[in-house]
């Protein structure tokens, strides 16, 4: 059992948890993820490591309820436990494993969309601790969806906030900010790291391609084991098939077939929709979705 030391609701639909997992905390690096499973009957849910404390032996995760399993996670409190919590999975971000002197020469821009701020944070923090100040764009549909602003400001160079509806910071989507920074505000970047919903990563990559900025994205396909055993997480990268859980999750964004990846993510859409309704409505779930045929 893996004890939850802290469980906190953030702004918007987001939740933060600090979980005791000493083996993972000892070995993880930014860019890697864990898989959490609530109880015997739960699904295996991949979540990025958002922060870690090697001394305390803890891992911080930030998540947004999407389907039945993540919805159930929101009901867990400090003192509760996950039955299973495994990691660190995937490869660390190349920024943390490449030659530091080379990384220091680069001007780096992070682009965080929605809950993507969570996986961006440990990378920016790691760079800060190694004497590198990166710029960060945090984007969300509206003000309450902007995450980790203060935390990010403490470790980044410039932080640019933008909301689609203009309720906070700049107005417009993150790609507009990238264009403004590079085309109108005299900024230049050697590397962009974009993490967020697939659709946001897709458009970010289209923009950075135009601007000639190499771009790394963190892919979040459906996964089962997270160790290379099932192939559920396969993606087309360039001409090659890659398993996101062991070859990634970070890839060259300009080589990803986002349209195919987005379609794969929808695979269990209807089945999950039903499961989610069941959790949300609890005992009051009596048909209505038209699929279960009433009482099961």
């Amino acid at each position: 059992m893996y004890k939850i030391k802290k469980a906190e609701k953030l702004t918007g639909p987001n939740y933060l948890m600090v979980v005791e997992a000493p083996r993972i905390a000892k070995h993880c690096l930014p860019g890697q993820f864990i898989i959490a499973k609530e109880d015997e009957k739960g699904e295996r849910i991949p979540l990025t490591i958002c922060d870690y404390d090697r001394e305390e032996g803890t891992i911080t995760i930030v998540f947004q309820p999407i389907g039945a399993s993540t919805e159930k996670f929101t009901r867990l409190k400090a003192g509760d436990s996950f039955r299973d919590f495994v990691g660190p999975l995937g490869k660390p971000s190349e920024l943390c494993t490449d030659d530091l002197e080379e990384v220091k020469k680069k001007k780096i821009l992070f682009v965080a969309g929605g809950v993507g701020a969570a996986p961006v944070y440990p990378q920016v923090k790691w760079l800060h601790e190694h004497g590198i100040e990166a710029d960060v764009i945090i984007g969300g549909r509206t003000k309450e969806l902007i995450l980790l602003e203060d935390e990010m400001k403490a470790v980044a160079g410039n932080v640019y906030i933008t909301t689609d509806d203009g309720s906070y910071g700049r107005t417009g989507v993150v790609t507009k900010v990238i264009e403004d920074l590079v085309q109108n505000e005299g900024k230049s970047y050697d590397l962009c790291v974009a993490i967020g919903p697939m659709i946001m990563m897709k458009f970010t990559c289209m923009t950075t391609k135009k601007l000639n900025i190499p771009t790394v994205v963190s892919m979040n396909p459906i996964m089962v084991d997270g160790t290379g055993m099932c192939g559920a997480c396969r993606l087309t990268v360039g001409d090659e098939v890659k398993f996101a859980c062991v070859d990634g999750p970070e890839f060259d964004g300009h080589l990803i077939d986002f349209d195919a990846a987005m379609k794969r993510q929808m695979m269990y859409k209807t089945e999950e929709g039903r499961a989610l309704l069941k959790v949300r409505e609890g005992d009051t779930h009596h048909g209505g979705c038209g699929n279960c045929g009433g009482d099961e």
């Binding site: 499973k37 495994v86 089962v224 055993m229």
Partner: protein, 463 residues
């Protein structure tokens, strides 16, 4: 009196009934049936059957005890050589091992050694007979990676010798392929696998799940920082292969590993588990091994019409005869001498069919089997919504790539001595599918046994 040339028939669920449930297909012998079948064994002096068993169970001796009705005695004899008899009795390819060598088989049917072994093991479990108690603890720590048959056997044998053994398992349940691969209807998980795992634990073996060696920690750390004096690697061969044909990344194309893991380990077939699985209407399983048969029979039970698509003919099917027979009885359709060339998708990238070609058998290839060649112009399309790729697996490079000084061969298999399990790295032993590539439960067990002996010799010398 029954015909002595024939096996005493074993009770099974009727094909129509079992095709719609996940209960065990074969119901096994009762004591009377077992004693009757045991009487068919002529107790050969130079028993050929023993030579066919990779762990050399003293078959005539245990069968003799069954014949006399001394089941506990029979269990003790089997336990001298095998740690997982309830499992091997169910899943060993007996027709090519022990039973394949049985003298009775020359004129009629061989003695049903597997079913007798299964009966003895089930009887022992139901009557609370435990394996003998371990030797006094010697306080020396050994780590075992992976909790499949190789790891469980190695751990059990070392614990019996007094070692302090910890198994590290990547998944959330112990058992390896026995829990995630082989389905419930062939190998019941709670009744049989969990009970065998408990037996190993009762010897004092600790099992730490959710630890991936190479990620959560490394072999070098186990040896240098955590006080383990030796390590056994029984990490299996779990990486799935794909064909590399167009459309293979479409929604509705799965590896057999994913499909079986969702259903067996994650219990998608039970309503109260959260795991989603594609319940196809028309499913093709590509491949002809045990794994393909298991995937096909699982899809059938989830309600689909199922086709096995295999490029050679029935004679070359690598699956066990019993599995092919059961699959056909249950209604799995065999499309033999057929090879997929493309998976056809709709506008949402979901499978809508598969383009195949017909094959014929040409000259024998390096494996001695006649090589399938395409018949020109024989292309045709199958209408489908699900394709399960069952083309074989290879060892995961996670451990070899993170362990300094551990040699592997071209097929990514760990190089280890057959007699002792010794690898190129001192104190590190390996066995099972991680060494041989995908093989069988009993061979993995045999390798685990050999390595336990190898480790014991190594540590006794080191003292």
């Amino acid at each position: 009196m029954a015909d002595v040339l024939k096996k005493v028939p074993v009770r099974e669920q009727a094909p129509k009934v079992r095709a719609a449930n996940f209960e065990e297909v074969c119901l096994g012998y009762n004591k009377e049936e077992a004693m009757e079948e045991a009487a068919r064994c002529i107790n050969c002096k130079n028993a050929k059957c023993v030579g066919g068993c990779p762990v050399s169970i003293n078959i005539p001796a245990f069968i003799h005890e069954v014949k006399e009705g001394n089941i506990e005695e029979a269990y003790k004899i089997i336990s001298e050589s095998s740690a997982l008899p309830a499992i091997c009795g169910r899943v060993c390819p007996q027709e090519s091992q022990c039973e394949g060598k049985c003298i009775r088989g020359i004129k009629g049917e061989p003695v049903s050694i597997g079913k007798l072994e299964r009966f003895v093991a089930d009887w022992a479990r139901e009557n609370g007979i435990k394996p003998p108690a371990p030797a006094a603890a010697n306080g020396r720590k050994v780590a075992v990676i992976g909790s499949g048959p190789a790891g469980l056997t190695c751990a059990g044998d070392l614990a019996k010798l007094g070692y302090d053994v910890t198994i590290f398992e990547a998944l959330h349940e112990p058992g390896g392929v026995l829990v995630y691969g082989i389905p419930e209807f062939r190998l019941p998980k709670n009744k049989v696998v969990a009970a065998e795992v408990e037996n190993v634990k009762s010897l004092g073996v600790k099992i730490e799940t959710n630890v991936i060696i190479g990620k959560s920690t490394t072999i070098d750390e186990l040896l240098n920082d955590e006080g383990f004096e030796a390590v056994f690697i029984g990490s299996g061969a779990g990486l799935p292969m794909f064909m590399g044909i167009p459309g293979e990344n479409a929604n509705g194309v799965f590896s057999a590993n994913e499909y079986l893991t969702r259903n067996n380990l994650m219990k998608a077939f039970l309503d109260d588990y959260d795991t989603p699985i594609a319940r196809g209407k028309k499913v093709a399983v590509v491949g002809g091994g045990n794994v393909a048969m298991d995937a096909a029979r699982t899809a059938l039970r989830l309600g689909a019409e199922v086709h096995i698509v295999y490029r050679r003919s029935e004679a070359e099917l690598p699956a066990r005869v019993e599995e092919v027979h059961h699959a056909k009885e249950e209604g799995v359709i065999m499309d033999l001498l057929t090879n997929p060339v493309e998976i056809l998708v709709d506008e949402n990238d979901a499978v809508k069919g598969m383009k195949c070609v017909r094959m014929e058998l040409g000259e024998p290839d390096a494996s001695g089997r006649r090589r399938p060649v395409e018949i020109p112009g024989s292309e045709f399309e199958m209408e489908l919504d699900t394709v399960i790729m069952s083309l074989g697996t290879s060892p995961n490079p996670l451990i070899s790539s993170t362990t300094i000084g551990l040699d592997i061969n071209k097929r990514k298999c760990i190089i280890a001595d057959e007699e002792t399990g010794k690898t190129s790295k001192e104190g590190v032993y390996a066995g099972g599918d991680a060494v041989t590539g995908a093989a069988t439960v009993i061979l993995a067990m045999g390798a685990g046994k050999a390595a336990a002996k190898g480790i014991h010799e190594f540590l006794s010398d080191k003292k």
